[in-house]
């Protein structure tokens, strides 16, 4: 039965408690096809993919591979059926090195005997080949992955999926943590896999990117399929329209010029092995971007400014007076606020409600000594409406919100402290287009109120669209600072990859 | 003819003696001084402190540390046997002259005792509820079931054939509990007027003696006599009865004659307790070592004395110095 598609899902449905996540989803896929799957946060993309991978049980519907119906009651069943998945939330073993992670669950043995000795050497060779030859990244093969950067870990996830040499490969937002270069690598690989007749499902919020590599795009909204069209008849606006069921106003809010009075002044900030002699001065209401590759020191710098990993040399002035940022509490005393990139790991308190998560950084608002639940509801409710957080009230468990909405709560948490300086690390990672523009608007508004914002991001378009000035870091140094309005993504990309000495210095450090 | 052990071990009960097995050490006259004596109880508590006092005094009489060097070790972890094995093996390697050990249970330490014996180190047992191995030289102390009998006998003597309801505080399940109960039941079973209406474990400790007694009296408010297999538990029971205003009304029969129990009899809170001759036991340990290793005389297999019941009538006759170590001059 060669005519039956490689994969066919029919009438898939899934509910969590009484919340319907998916309803009557049909999905057919042939070898050599790359299906783009898009939708707002919470649309159900990951849920659908997890069902296909056997990680979630489905409430209804059938799944057939090569015309043969399969049960898919466990991730193992998924793997056996030739389905590999890169999960949105990385699922690596922090204590294991990359080789051990790539082969986790299907370690190579000297023989079929279940207690046969493992062939560590072969696994390590294979892993090295995958990473450096196939993916073209240099990853320390024998360091526990907990010590590797997020993008390295993401590449290991990809290697893990490739290594399974499955026929159906699912990638759930694989590029969110990747740099420009690494993304290109990945797209090349996808093309190769496609040529090799594999079927790929590619989930992403970077629609432009997605249209570049997909042959077909499927759009989910509130757990239903609202469009399934060949890429030929699509463009970004059409896709976005389908996603949000209406047209989207401009993604970036119009720039508001910063005020004249200075706010933050950084001089000769250094931390061995992370960043070196960083200087810049920012005005109130200024949004300052920092671009740079993985390991360029940008978030180390950001975290140093928040007192998490203290800098070793240099000075920081806030409103003209010197401040010591040796500890997070110092930074918070100076009304610094920090939004970490890894929301799940460093941001949310999963056991607790939206209200709790929102107020935790500034419990003062709930009462001087006695915290009043009523006040918590009140404050939370006001921010929920102000930021347009989608959830059923302040009582809702934070973990029941979609990525984008969680991110808005994280932002609200800090806005509640009326920060002087807002430090954002990858503020829109994993956030859908609509939520993105909402987040930008919030940042913009904060700036307008005189808050100084520093944004670290791997998304150059974002930096140029949102910031006034963008600095580029290379190997721990700021190599240039450009004016966002007049610069191109290419410029940032160029400075990010090229050693400074091969360039003639651009402008003064302070722009 | 049997030598008169009574001269050496005052009040020894020869009727408790048993046959030699032939596998124990033969007496030897050792001239090296000081003799190294390892003393190894199952724990270091009120009771064994009192035994130790007897040991020290008797050593003093023989010239103190120049005559007998005393090594004391007691289990520190919950699993007493392991620690006792460790100590014994250390001492055997160290080549001590004699080991006195208290067995917690039947069959305990058999291999270690055999090993010591084979290494020419005589092993003396003390306060061991069930001594059943063929290697030890002498088992020093008293018959635990005699303790139970003494408690029961006191009840019989005090209440005659009056109907009496009894509540019993047992210790943790084990040989001490079972031996004492064995003796107690032997007597009581012959006197149907005594009814045991409640019998619960209180883990040898005061806090449990308190709560178990409270609960016991809730279920059986008509208990007239509270028997405890250890004064600690009895003292807990006393606290419970005080709270209920029953102290003095309900008779408490303890076991061990701890200082506090002794005082409680004077105040009338306790009716009786059994003194098991802890200090005398300690003295007898050293006397036995002296006989066996210094004089080279044979010893009986059992060096037991009779436990003594104290109540309001005879409590004044008890010598309070029997509780503490009183340095002795050489005799």
């Amino acid at each position: 039965m060669a005519n039956s598609p490689l994969l066919e899902m029919k009438g898939i449905g899934k509910r969590f408690g009484n919340m319907v996540a998916l309803q009557g989803i049909d999905l057919a896929l042939n070898g050599g096809e790359v299906l783009g799957l898009v939708g707002e946060n919470g649309a159900g993309k990951s849920t659908l993919m997890k069902i296909l991978a056997g990680a979630y049980s489905r409430d209804g519907g059938t799944i057939a591979v090569r015309g043969k119906e399969i049960e898919l009651d466990s991730p193992k069943a998924g793997a056996d059926a030739g389905i590999a998945i890169i999960y949105q939330e990385l699922s690596l073993f922090p204590d294991f090195d990359s080789a051990e992670n790539i082969f986790a669950g299907r370690e190579l043995r000297r023989s079929g005997f279940s207690l046969a000795p493992l062939s560590h050497g072969q696994m390590r060779r294979e892993a090295r080949r995958l990473l450096s030859k196939e993916l073209g990244v240099e990853v320390a093969i024998d360091r526990p992955v907990r010590e590797l950067s997020l993008s390295d870990r993401q590449m290991i996830e990809i290697a893990k999926a490739l290594n399974s040499n499955a026929d159906i490969i699912i990638m759930d937002e694989p590029t969110e943590a990747l740099e420009e270069v690494e993304r290109r690598q990945l797209f090349a690989i996808i093309k190769r896999l496609q040529a090799a007749g594999k079927a790929i499902i590619y989930v992403s919020h970077r629609i432009k990117e997605l249209l570049g590599i997909c042959s077909r795009v499927m759009v989910l909204r509130d757990g239903r399929t609202v469009a399934d069209l060949p890429v030929a008849d699509l463009d970004v606006d059409k896709v976005v329209a389908a996603m949000i069921g209406g047209a989207l106003s401009k993604q970036f809010p119009p720039r508001v010029p910063p005020r004249s009075d200075p706010s933050v002044e950084v001089r000769g900030l250094s931390r061995a092995g992370a960043f070196d002699d960083i200087s810049f001065s920012l005005a109130k209401g200024e949004i300052f971007g920092i671009a740079g590759l993985e390991g360029s020191g940008k978030s180390a710098l950001l975290r140093a400014l928040f007192g998490q990993r203290a800098y070793e040399r240099g000075t920081v002035k806030v409103d003209g007076k010197d401040v010591q940022l040796t500890d997070i509490t110092d930074a918070i005393r100076e009304r610094f606020a920090f939004l970490p990139a890894e929301r799940k790991v460093e941001g949310i308190f999963p056991e607790h409600s939206v209200g709790w998560n929102l107020s935790i950084a500034n419990l003062g608002v709930l009462g001087k000594i006695t915290l009043r639940p009523s006040k918590e509801k009140e404050v939370a409710a006001s921010y929920i409406s102000k930021l347009g957080v989608k959830c059923d009230g302040p009582q809702a468990e934070i973990s029941s919100l979609s990525g984008g909405n969680q991110q808005k709560v994280m932002l609200a948490r800090w806005l509640l402290t009326q920060p002087k300086v807002l430090l954002l690390e990858e503020p829109t990672r994993g956030v859908d287009v609509r939520a993105k523009s909402e987040v930008y608007a919030l940042v913009q508004a904060a700036a307008q109120d005189g808050c100084t914002v520093i944004v670290v991001s791997a998304d150059n378009a974002e930096l140029l669209g949102l910031c006034h000035r963008v600095a580029v870091m290379f190997e721990g140094k700021i190599t240039t600072v450009v004016d966002a309005a007049t610069s191109k993504e290419e410029t940032l990309a160029l400075h990010s990859v090229r050693p400074p000495e091969t360039l003639h210095p651009v402008g003064g450090i302070n722009g | 003819a049997e030598p008169d052990y009574n001269a050496v071990f005052p009040g020894i009960l020869m009727n408790k003696d048993i046959e030699q097995t032939g596998q124990e050490m033969k007496p030897v006259k050792k001239d090296n001084r000081p003799l190294k004596l390892g003393f190894l109880p199952t724990a270091m508590d009120t009771y064994y402190q009192r035994v130790l006092a007897g040991v020290k005094e008797e050593i003093d009489k023989r010239g103190g540390a120049e005559a007998i060097e005393l090594l004391v070790q007691a289990p520190s972890s919950q699993s007493a046997t392991d620690d006792q094995i460790r100590a014994m093996e250390a001492w055997i390697n160290d080549g001590v002259d004699a080991i006195a050990v208290a067995l917690y249970n039947e069959g305990a330490l058999l291999p270690s005792i055999r090993r010591a014996t084979e290494a020419g180190i005589p092993v003396f047992l003390f306060n061991s509820p069930v001594a059943d191995n063929p290697y030890y030289v002498s088992d020093i102390g008293y018959d635990q079931s005699d303790g139970g009998r003494a408690q029961a006998q006191w009840l019989v003597d005090t209440y005659g054939d009056k109907d009496v309801k009894i509540g019993i505080l047992e210790g943790l399940p084990g040989p001490h509990t079972s031996q004492r109960m064995k003796g107690f039941n032997e007597i009581i079973s012959k006197h149907p007027n005594f009814k045991i209406v409640a019998q619960q474990p209180a883990g040898w400790v005061r806090a449990q003696g308190l709560s178990v007694t409270e609960n016991m009296f809730t279920a059986n408010p008509d208990i007239e006599v509270l028997v405890a297999l250890y004064d600690e538990m009895a003292l807990g029971g006393l606290q419970a009865l005080k709270a209920k205003g029953l102290n003095g009304k309900v008779a408490i029969v303890g076991y061990e004659n701890m200082k506090e129990a002794n005082a409680a009899i004077l105040t009338g809170d306790f009716s009786a307790t059994v003194d098991t001759g802890a200090k005398e036991e300690g003295r007898n340990v050293v006397r036995a070592v002296d006989e066996f290793l210094m004089k080279g005389n044979p010893l009986p297999k059992k060096i037991f004395v009779a436990p003594k019941v104290y109540d309001a009538k005879n409590i004044k006759t008890f010598d309070q110095t029997d509780y503490d170590y009183v340095p002795q001059q050489k005799m």
């Binding site: 928040f306 999963p350 419990l363 009582q395 | 402190q49 709560s211 600690e232 506090e260």
Partner: protein, 324 residues
Amino acid sequence: MAEVAVTRPRHAFKFGLASGNAGVYIAFVVLLIALGLAAPRFFTVGNLTDVLRQAVPIAVIAFGATFVIGMRGIDLSVGSTLALTGLVTANLLVLGYSVPVACLAGLALGAFIGVINGLLITKIGITDFIATMAIMVVSRGVVMVYTQGIPITGASDPAFRMIGQSYLAGVPVPVVLTVIVFAAAFYLLYYTRFGRFVLSIGSNPDAARLVGIPTDKVKIAVYVLAGVLSAFAGIMLTSRLESAMPEAGQGYELDVIAAVVIGGTGLSGGRATLFGTVVGAVLMAVVRNGLNLLNVNTFWHQVVIGTIILVAVTADRFNRSRKT
């Protein structure tokens, strides 16, 4: 995986009723009814008073343990702390110090042990389990050195006896004190910054640090709280017995953890229910009381206790999984 996000009403949880321990409440009620039928005297004022008083030491310590466990920590040293502080208090009284002085000294010692635990865990970075276990062993050792294995008796100062033995309007003072401690702990855990900090650390330590919670300070404070409450339990026990025993509180650490977990506070931290803890502690006392009332054979006690613990937590599990 699918059980990850079990959602339940927030307000219920804030008041410590949730963490889905309704299962335990049911098991508890069933047990009470069963006992009521089996032992007619169970439901007498006298007996219930006794049961409550017997539950006091475990309950008070378990309040502290609820904070510790809600913070994803564990404290094995509580039993030894109880013994040591009880002894010091008793000794000072015997030496003629006034009741307040003796008690404060005991509480201070409890706090001190808590500080040690906290410092070992935060500053040196020893796992809580091992740190508190070592402190458990050491303090028990100190007790032995200090007492030579002999109880300290004669802590019979009338004022001191009040604490553990007197009644207030028919309710035993220790029970009254426990209720007060409960109220305070309840307020502290659910209505103050400190309480939120504790549960935040239990929920996500990294995030807690990043929102500016002084995690080390909070941790130390929590172990101090645990130490002080253990000391308080020790003082009440000493007052009841008018003496202090070297072996007091042995094995309490497990009873306490059992009480907390039976109550519905998970060892994974982030959530804590003080109501549940009370139920857990009382349930344990009820079981032991029942064994005595029914005069159950000595040898069967442990089997029964262990089984009831299992039944209680199992009831809880099934109650939750139905929610998913």
